[in-house]
Amino acid sequence: MKRLTLIDFTGPIIALVVYVGLTMADRPWVALATRIFPNEGRYIYQNASTTTLVWQQFAMVALSSSMAVLIGVSLGLFVTHRAGADFYDVVSSLSNLSQTFPPIAVFTLTVPILGFGFEPTVLALTLYGILPVLRNTIAGIESVSPTQIESARGMGMRPYQVLLRVELPLAASVILAGVRISVVVGVATATIGAVAGAGGLGAPIISGLINDDPPVTLHGAILATYMALLFDAFIGRFEKAFAFSSPGARA
């Protein structure tokens, strides 16, 4: 495994610093937006500060994604090993649903059941976020060559060692790709959470749409997209550290 150092994260960290700067630059934004859209009523969301909105957005995604990763990876590992083999078919076809299920539909289905607010939104995001993680965990574990597993067992690794030392590291890049997709989609989906009253960067987006204030929508959309790109960049760095080519590639 390539050791990750701080240098590997130079780009994403600079981008993060710029982002933090942006969240605190309400006045420059208003000045800029006034030039681009001279005759609008509002240029920025009034009911909460930008930092609060960004923080709410981040909290929603961080909470839901960590739970989604925890559940998705555990479930994926469970069904790809002997103990959970019976559930493989059900879980695997369920995980494929994620490709056909549009993010906007998540809340139309969950709001009537879970209700409005921050916690129900996080719960809905978690459920939705499990699917790509689960799908890629299954695909990643299945991509590990049986020869490598046999050789690990043949050398006397215990089952948990085979899992932690061989299967997980070799599946990690595929699993992390699933995590990345889940988180990026999560950032986008969380903006719709504003409809369910969860706050976050969806609030200015929707408020701008309703009140016909394009600069407000734009402000929220830029900050949300930027946040998605940040997650993408950070997780992508980890993903690369686990990219291995097969042995004997030169043979």
Binding site: T147, S151, L170, S245, P247, R250, A251
Partner: protein, 317 residues
Amino acid sequence: MIRLEGVTKRYPSMERPAVDDVTFEVPAGEITALIGPSGSGKSTTLRMVNRLIEPDEGSIYVGVDEIHDIKAEDLRRRIGYAIQGVGLFPHWTVFQNIGCVPWLLHWDKPRIAARVRELLDLVGLDAAEYSAKYPSQLSGGEAQRVGVARALAADPPVLLMDEPFGAVDPLTRERLQSEFLAIQHKLRKTVLFVTHDLDEAIRVADRIALMRDGALMQHDCVERVIAYPANEFVREFVGTERALKRLSLAHVAEEMGPPGRAAATEGRVPDGATLRTALAVMLEHGERAASVIAEDGSVVGSVTIDDILAHFERPLS
């Protein structure tokens, strides 16, 4: 020592047992080749010895212990296991790959490092150059050398090898085989290895266990399997060049006579060559005898066509 007694393995999907009542012994310090066509059960037999597959019937002993008296993982750490180069872990360096079993056995770091250096040296790879490489940076031959080093890491008395010299070109394979023989000469491990290549078995093994459809057809020393096939299947498997294969097992030094008999001939064979080479030299020169020369070029004896015929007539012990 490895001993199998009445070992049988059945799979529900198969009509006949995959391995059917197999009994044989690999004596300590010797190499036995488990050979047969694909589907003959040779790999299944090998994998039962380190419990990657559990037998349905019979007992297997490694040393004095019945393998089921030992926890599977502990058993495997006492048995070297080498498979084709792809069994190396791509996310680990050569150092980590070779140090795997010592690490599992909780050796301390300096001891592992010293052992890895020693093993890389043994298999002819430069420790400084190769330790930090990843398997993807190795050629096929290098990967298999690392595979052998990894199997030897914790100095197990017993080695299991599944086509350890497969998947490389014939030249590399021959070199790996002779390197392995040189290592075996030093270490005297008890080795059971699977191959489908009879020539490899002849070159490397002391004994051959020939399998077909899960059953053991013949188990004997290499010379006897070739000279006295137990049945029609073995005769066919050994093939039409049985006689030449026998010659390739006998060395000139064992059969040669005094130098005078080949005085008038041109053919020369080194004293370390096989009778097969001697015959080839005679045929090439159209002569019935050839001089045997030592490494320094001096003539030390002669070998004649009659010596070769006599070799065939003499019964094997």
